[in-house]
């Protein structure tokens, strides 16, 4: 089901590939002397769900607040549908936001919360009622229209908050840590439901999150932010399988990083000499390095690192080691393998067989991987 959703998403993005809704141009934000956002430029396409992913303090929330109009950028421009909205106050932007704390008005019922924005636009009463009903239906909250926020559960509050931010039919929806206030089980459930609702409405959406799983589940494209700077933008597959920097590789999922020096760099292949490994690292493409950059990083995901008891029958890409630690997680087991140099690497083994015979602590093992499993990084 998740695959089907992903496929649909990709198709949708391809159709509207060249239609840019929101254009962020060279946005820089200083708080007093501290740099919060550093020369960020992004184009958000019509209809996509775009995630800003980063640790706390990475500037992602500041960027979102500038889109909403709560903060003014020190430099740069924000264009919505080609119109410069950089200096517009929040109440004049056709952008709505769902807050992390939901910010539901505690003295109003669910209905009144949903109607609030519509009343500000002075819409006729009938239309307000009709739209509120439609919104309640959209998030399956018809039964709770007369409740006050404190009489709702966390998940219900989130639905109301989402409905309220969609009620004005904004051109752009902003989600600030949308699942931040929910417990883990509910989170997974709501992620898919929220994506369904957003696709149903067809709204363009920029979300901020520190949870990479959430970003990968919900977003069509992800921007990884670090220290106010955008490290990489791409689809979930892009940023996971082809990270362009050590920071991105380490931020998204687990990774084993090997430092090596270039032994051989041709057009169709290259080899790295890594002192931690018994064999050379062979990569199926060259990087056309300069003479002064001989040192490279090799990033290898734990699930692509194969662990066997027998010595692998290959010239490159293997090493001897011994089992240092085992973490059984149910679906898969994480083996921490200690290489002869003392470096510890991670290796995931899917538990496809119940109670299978597996290497145990201190056993001698071999790790190896296929030629195209890892990524070469310059930094």
């Amino acid at each position: 089901m998740a695959i089907a959703a992903g496929a649909r998403k990709n198709q949708k993005v391809n159709e509207a590939e060249h239609e840019t809704l929101l254009s962020i141009r060279n946005i820089t934000k200083y708080y007093d002397e501290a740099l919060a956002v550093d020369n960020v430029s992004l184009d958000i396409r019509k209809g996509e769900i775009f995630a800003l992913l980063g640790a706390s303090g990475s500037g992602k929330s500041t960027l979102l607040r500038m889109l909403a109009g709560f903060e003014q950028p020190t430099q740069g421009h924000i264009l919505l549908d080609g119109v410069d909205i950089t200096r517009l106050p929040p109440y004049q932007r056709t952008i709505n936001m769902m807050f992390q704390s939901y910010a539901l008005f505690p003295h109003m019922t669910v209905e009144q919360n949903l109607a609030f924005g519509l009343k500000q636009d002075k819409l006729p009463k009938d239309e307000i009622r009709e739209r509120v009903e439609r919104m309640l239906k959209l998030v399956h909250m018809e039964k709770y229209a007369r409740r006050k926020p404190h009489q709702l559960s966390g998940g219900q509050r989130q639905r109301v908050a989402l409905a309220r931010s969609l009620a004005k039919q904004p051109k752009l929806l902003l989600l600030d840590e949308p699942m931040g206030a929910l417990d883990k089980k509910l989170r997974t459930e709501m992620q898919l439901e929220v994506v369904d609702i957003l696709e149903n409405v067809g709204v363009t959406c920029v979300m901020v999150t520190h949870d990479q799983e959430e970003a990968m589940t919900m977003a069509d494209r992800i921007a990884i932010m670090d220290e106010g700077y955008i490290q990489q933008v791409g689809s979930p597959v892009d940023v996971y399988e082809s990270p362009t920097s050590r920071m991105v590789a380490e931020f998204i999922g687990s990774v084993n990083i090997f430092e090596g020096t270039i032994r051989d760099d041709e057009e169709d292949h290259m080899t790295l000499n890594c002192p931690d490994l018994d064999a050379l690292i062979y990569i199926g493409h060259g990087v056309s390095s300069g003479i002064d950059e001989r040192s490279m990083l090799f990033a290898l995901r734990p699930e692509k690192t194969v662990m066997t008891v027998e010595k692998p029958d290959q010239e490159f890409n293997w090493s001897e080691g011994k089992v240092h630690d085992i973490a059984y997680l149910g679906g898969h087991t994480v083996y921490y393998v200690e290489l002869p140099s003392g470096k510890i690497i991670q290796c995931f083994l899917a538990n496809t067989v119940r109670r299978a015979e597996r290497p145990t602590w201190e056993d001698s093992v071999y790790i190896h991987w296929a030629v195209d499993s890892g990524v070469v990084l310059r930094s």
Partner: protein, 292 residues
């Protein structure tokens, strides 16, 4: 049933209220049913042991007397009117103050609150006397007005209702500001951002979000001002004139000038009744609200 420790802690204030409020009130209530006498104490006793019989004498004459004389009705009405408008003025003045303090940077908040409270560190009486000096015909305000040529002869301010309002609002303002501040400072700023985000302007979000959410602060502050002002004696006595007859002043006269303790007690009992009924009603309304 509350656990033992809790019962003791709650019991403390209850005991305090019993000894220092309920018991004296029962004495006052008892005296209000007596008749005035030239004796010590100056009222007839309720229980009388004569001819081997216990005579309990409860006289309602004082209450009937109070409703019969227009002076008392006017005094009650004046007190309530005065208290109502003073509360309103305190609210109109105190709300912006409390709002400004609550929105100020945290390190300034304490200083500003202290400034609000600072005047109450000097004696209440001295501060009211100071207002006499300011408001009287040859006082500072009239002096400045005449010096500036705004008026040729002094404006009569002292011994008017205006002076009483000035004195009351000045004295009771902190009681309005503090509960309002305590309420406003807890407000979630993201609610206002959400209101902006949904299209509300500054004033719109104030009237639709901030004001309704500060309802409890407004009620608490208003009660803290209204209730003591109804029984206020010193300010109308010192700053007011003949037009500002308030129940506190009448009470004093009955006790000390007329030495009619029973009538004075009846006055006090009715005053408590007037104050307690709205409070009880409000309490019930609040309980209902929190249950729904």
């Amino acid at each position: 049933m509350l656990p033992g420790g809790k019962r003791w802690i709650i019991g403390g204030p209850y005991l305090w209220l019993l000894i220092f409020f309920l018991l004296p009130f029962i004495f006052v209530l008892k005296i209000s049913f007596a008749e005035a006498e030239l004796a010590i104490p100056p009222y007839s006793s309720m229980f009388d042991w004569t001819e081997e019989a216990l005579n309990i004498k409860v006289s309602f004459a004082n209450y009937i007397w109070l409703t019969g004389d227009e002076l008392y009705v006017v005094a009650y009405w004046n007190s309530i009117k005065m208290a109502f408008f003073s509360t309103l003025f305190c609210l109109l003045l105190g709300y912006p103050m409390a709002y400004a303090i609550a929105k100020a940077p945290p390190h300034l908040q304490t200083t500003w609150l202290l400034l609000v409270l600072l005047p109450s560190w000097t004696s209440f009486l001295i501060r009211v006397y100071a207002w006499m000096g300011l408001l009287k015909n040859n006082g500072i305000i009239n002096g400045v007005l005449m010096w500036a040529g705004i008026t040729d002869e002094p404006i009569q301010m002292l011994n008017t209702n205006f002076a009483v309002y000035v004195g009351i609002v000045y004295s009771y303002l902190p009681f309005m500001v503090l509960p309002l501040y305590a309420n406003l400072v807890k407000h979630d700023a993201t609610l206002i951002e959400a209101a902006y985000d949904l299209g509300a302007r500054k004033w719109g979000s104030f009237f639709k979000i901030t004001l309704p959410l500060s309802k409890n602060g407004i009620i608490a502050g208003s009660m803290l001002v209204f209730i003591p002002v109804v029984g206020e004696y010193v300010i109308p006595e010192l700053l007011g004139g003949t037009e500002s007859i308030m129940i506190g002043k009448v009470l004093w006269q009955e006790f000390f000038n007329n030495r009619d303790w029973p009538v004075a007690s009846a006055l006090a009992t009715i005053m408590i009744g007037i104050l307690i009924i709205p409070i009880a009603l409000f309490h019930r309304y609040q309980n209902k609200e929190s249950q729904s």
